[in-house]
Structure formats: C-alpha cells, structure tokens
C-alpha cells in the first residue's frame, strides 16, 4: 500500500500541494494556537497604537469579535444542545443597557476606562439572570416552544425599554464613551471561545450533546437534562450580554430599535452559516458574514438581495453550514484528538480489517 503512488493526485500543481502540506503542518501543530493567541493579543495593542490599519478596518475587527461572541454563545444552545432559541438580541439588549447605564450615569466621570470591565461583567450577569428566568419555565416544554418563548422575550425586552422614560425610552441612550477597544474585544472573544469550548468538552458538555441527540435516552443515561439545559442557556445569555455591553461601547449610541428581531436573525444566520456544533464554524461564520456585509456595502439595496442568495445557495450545497458538526483540530482537546483522528482513518479506509 505505502510504496504505491496515489494515482488520483499527480496532476495537481505543486504550489497547491505545498500549500496543503504547509496547512497540514500548522493545523496539526498543538503549539500553533497559543502562538496565534499571543500574536493576536500583541497585534490588538499594536494596531490602534501604530495605526497599522485605518480606523474603519479597526471598527470592523471589533464587530467581528463581538459577532464571534454572539455566534458562539447561540451555537451552544442551537448547535450543541439542538434547541432553537431565536431571541439572542433580547439578551444582548439587557447587557448593553446595564453596562451603558453604569458607564454613563453611575460610574464617576473619567473613571469609565478603568471601571469598564466591571460594566461589561455586570451586563453579562444581568443577561445571564434574565436567561435563567426565561429558561426555568420554557424548558418544561420541548422543541418549537422555546423558539416562541425566546421570540416573545426579544419583543418584551424591546417594548419594556421603549416604555421606561428613565432610560431614554424609544430615544435610547446617546453619548456613550467609546470604551470598547481592540484589546478588550480580543480578550472577551478569547474568553468566550475558551469557556464554551471547555464547557462543551466537559462531562457536563457531553450531557448537552446527548440532549441534542436523543433527550429521552439522555434522561435514561442519568443525565440531569433540566440542570444541563438551564446551565447551558444561562452561559449562552451571559455571553450575549457581554457582547451587548461591548457593542454599546463601540456604537456609542443604543436604542431599543438596535436590538430588534433582525439583529437576532443576523446571529442565527451566522450560526447556521458557520455550522452548528462547531467552535471553528462559529468563528468562521461570524467573520465571513461580518466581512461580506461590509464588502458588499457599495451594492446598496442589492446587498440585502445578494446576502440571502448566498445563504440559500449555502443551504443547498452545504446544509449543515461550513463546519457543521465538525471541528478544527486546534479546538479539540488532546485526549479527544486521537479518537477523532482514528475515526477519520477508519472512514477513509473502510475495509482495512477485511
């Protein structure tokens, strides 16, 4: 087997072959991820410091980070757990408003930059609590009902904010300081990815996956499905709140209209574009969608025709999204990596044992 040259591949151009070999080397290198993290973190400081890219691109980079947090947190519920939550913007709004109120009204003037992390955490905790309150009654039912409950929640949050004059009502909160910086965005994005990746690969996370696969069997395997669902949903809404807080301090102006159902739909699109049940997919989906929307801006009105078309095509040719239920090697823990590699070999050579 080994000395026989593979007959199907010799026509490929050598550069492509070399690129592929290089990619393989990077992908299988366990040290690559920490190196990429350190480089990324340094870059996040260097870019605004030395104006390596123009402020517009910096803004896009921050949006990408925020969207990754949103996508990965929704993917935990919709992709890994197999439920269908559609009101992510509602939790985002809670985080955005709590943090914006703290930095504009509560914190003493000038201390915003120092106390900003606290405001972000407060936003996340607030959203997490709202998530918990929603999850307790709604997870007594299954499937589609959660979609309706979360949809309703999104509307409720929006109308509640609209009707409280003290927090600006429909006019929103203007004049928020631009406290979200590139390093902070990078930090929170990495934290969200790290927490959710570790959660998904833990014993608890296996419980989350089993609920997606077969909830009845999961109960019969001694998984406390209720507890697992509550925790997963709370973590998901916590990070939605974090993303909302960062978002408010980039946009510098928030109003209830920003957090309507369209915003929730955007997050859903990023999840299903990148692929359900995948960390790498969430990152890819959020990045591609954000960049594509910006690149297509010159098309004007036609952008909103082109984007859905891309999605329709994607669903036809890749119904599970770009990375659906697959994972990039960097994100798989070492103990599970061997398993997935063995499995891949078996799949390629089905009759090895025969």
């Amino acid at each position: 087997m080994a000395d026989k040259p593979l007959t199907s591949q010799p026509e490929k151009p050598p550069t492509l072959e070399r690129l592929r070999a290089g990619w393989e080397k990077i992908a299988s290198n366990r040290k690559a991820l920490p190196i990429a993290l350190v480089v990324g973190f340094l870059l996040s400081f260097a870019i605004p410091q030395f104006e390596l890219v123009n402020p517009y691109v910096q803004l896009i980079l921050m949006y990408i980070g925020i969207n990754i947090i949103l996508t990965i947190s929704l993917n935990l519920v919709n992709g890994y757990m197999g439920e269908f939550s559609v009101g992510h913007a509602g939790f985002m709004a809670v985080g955005a408003y709590i943090s914006a109120l703290l930095t504009t009204r509560v914190f003493p003037l000038g201390s915003g930059a120092w106390l900003f992390p606290l405001a972000v955490i407060a936003g996340g905790v607030g959203a997490g609590l709202v998530g918990l309150v929603v999850a307790v009654p709604s997870f007594k039912t299954r499937g589609d009902y959660l979609a309706i409950v979360t949809l309703a929640l999104n509307m409720i949050v929006k109308s509640v904010i609209e009707n409280i004059e003290a927090i600006g009502g429909p006019r929103g909160i203007p004049g928020i300081d631009k406290l979200t910086t590139l390093p902070w965005t990078f930090f929170w994005t990495v934290l969200a990815v790290w927490v959710i990746r570790n959660f998904v690969y833990s014993n608890f996370g296996r419980g989350v996956l089993s609920i997606r696969e077969d909830e009845i069997a999961s109960d019969l395997m001694s998984v406390n499905t209720r507890q697992v669902k509550l925790l997963a949903f709370t973590i998901s809404s916590f990070f939605a709140g974090i993303a909302g807080a960062l978002f408010a301090h980039v946009l510098q102006f928030i109003s209830p209209r920003v957090f309507d159902i369209i915003k929730s739909t955007d997050v859903l699109i990023m999840v299903y574009l990148g692929g359900i049940g995948s960390i790498a997919g969430s990152i890819l989906g959020a990045t591609i969608y954000t960049v594509l929307l910006e690149v297509l801006r010159p098309l004007g009105m036609w952008r909103m025709v082109f984007m859905p078309l891309v999605l329709v095509l994607l669903m036809i040719f890749r119904p599970r999204g770009i990375m659906g239920l697959r994972e990039f090697r960097w994100f798989i823990p070492y103990r599970d990596l061997f398993a997935s590699r063995l499995w891949r070999q078996k799949k390629e050579v089905p009759d090895a044992s025969a």
Binding site: N203, S210, M221, N224, A339, S340, W343
Partner: protein, 238 residues
C-alpha cells in the same frame, strides 16, 4: 407477594390523555431473576417500563428496594440502579461509542470503579472496544443494541429494563444478545425484559407475565407459560 421484592409494582395505571395504556397491573421482580413481560402491540409493556423509569406520569405504586419512585426524576432513578435500554436503542448517533458509554457514567464520581466497568463491558463486548472511536450512528443494528446494553451496564444498573432488544435484528444477532443477557444475569444483574418475541423471551426468563390490553392476562413460571395452550396459540405461533 413478598416483601423482599427488588421491584414491586402495585395497581399501576398509565394513561395518555383519554387512552388508558396500563389498567391496574401489579407484579414483583425479585433479585437475581429474569422476568419477562410479553404481549402484542399496545398491550402496555413499554408504558410499564416508562413508568418505572419515571418517563411518564402514572398512578399506583412503584417501589425499588422499598423506596417509592413516584416523586423521583428520571435521572435520580437511574442513579438508584435502574437502567433502561429504551425501545429503538436510543443511541447518540453523532457521538462516538466511547462518548455514548461515558454518558452512562454522567452522575458517577468513582473514577477507578468506572475504569473497571469499562474493562468489564469491553470484555463482554469486544466489538465495542474495536469500534470505540466510531460514531454510534455508523454501527450496525446489532452493534447498536450491544452498545445500548453496554451503556446500561456502565450506569451500574442492578436492575436492567430492556424494551424489545430483539427489534429489527436478524435471528442470529437476537440469539447473541440473549446469550449476553443471560451472562449478565448470571453475574448478578436482575432483568425485566419486555418482548414481542415471546418464544425467545420465555426461553431466557424465569418467570413471565402476559399483558393484554393493559392488564395481566396470565402469569407464571416460563415453563408453565410455554406449556399453556393459550400462550402457544396466541404468541408462539401454534
């Protein structure tokens, strides 16, 4: 009958809306036994098992080792030592065989014991060891059934409830599964087996109950049931 029953069921009623699936059945399962419930479709066999595992609401009393299971949630019942192999196997198709098995130990904290149980399960089912990194959904029907039984073993079930393990399997695989069940029983696990394949079930079990439209029509040792003309005609094909 006996106060020392491992599982005792009294006046069990299960209904789904207006449909009464189980209409007041009572029976006991003693430690070390294999007891089988046989009957046609809709006789209430699966509903009985679901009630024991806390998956459906019911009236009546179900007690395991003297503890009332009524108020308990499904996952707590499993932790007590009642492991159900559900109808249609309930394999987690997108998870590996290993992950499927690990899920059965979800509530267990005793790592060395879990390791030993893995070894035991793999010695009973060497096929699963070979395929431990394969996705559950890619296993054959027989292998999936073995995985389902293996999971029940991993959750340390003292009482194993099996819901039609022979469903959809070739006769040779059914014999294999039943051979393993006998082995598991001999090493100390009590088994409550629900089957449509009455012939196989009655050959394996010690005692049996025949369910007809939600009530117990006949009961006795399997030898008695195998010799009963009514059972012969209705369930053993004349």
């Amino acid at each position: 009958m006996n106060n020392h029953a491992l599982l005792s069921i009294k006046d069990l009623f299960v209904s789904y809306g207006n449909i009464k699936a189980v209409k007041g059945i009572s029976f006991d399962v003693h430690e070390g036994e294999i007891v089988t419930l046989i009957g046609a479709n809709g006789a209430g066999k699966s509903s009985t098992l679901r009630a024991i595992s806390g998956m459906v609401p019911y009236t009546g009393q179900i007690a395991y080792k003297g503890t009332d299971l009524r108020k308990m949630e499904a996952d707590k019942i499993v932790a007590l030592g009642i492991a159900q192999v559900p109808e249609g196997r309930g394999i987690f198709g997108n998870l590996t065989v290993m992950e499927n098995l690990k899920l059965a130990t979800w509530q267990r904290k005793d790592k060395p014991e879990i390791e030993r149980d893995f070894e035991r399960v793999f010695s009973i089912f060497p096929r699963l060891k070979e395929r431990s990194n394969q996705l559950g959904g890619t296993l054959s029907g027989g292998e999936q059934q073995m995985l389902a039984v293996a999971r029940a073993l991993m959750s340390r079930g003292k009482l194993m409830l099996l819901d039609e393990p022979s469903m959809g399997l070739a006769p040779v695989l059914v014999r294999e599964i039943f051979r393993v069940l006998k082995e598991i029983n001999q090493s100390g696990t009590t088994i409550l087996l629900v089957e449509q394949n009455a012939n196989m079930a009655l050959r394996l079990a010690h005692r049996g109950y025949v369910l007809e439209t939600g009530t117990i029509a006949l009961s006795g040792t399997t030898a008695e049931l195998l010799g009963n003309p009514r059972v012969k005609e209705a369930y053993l094909g004349g």
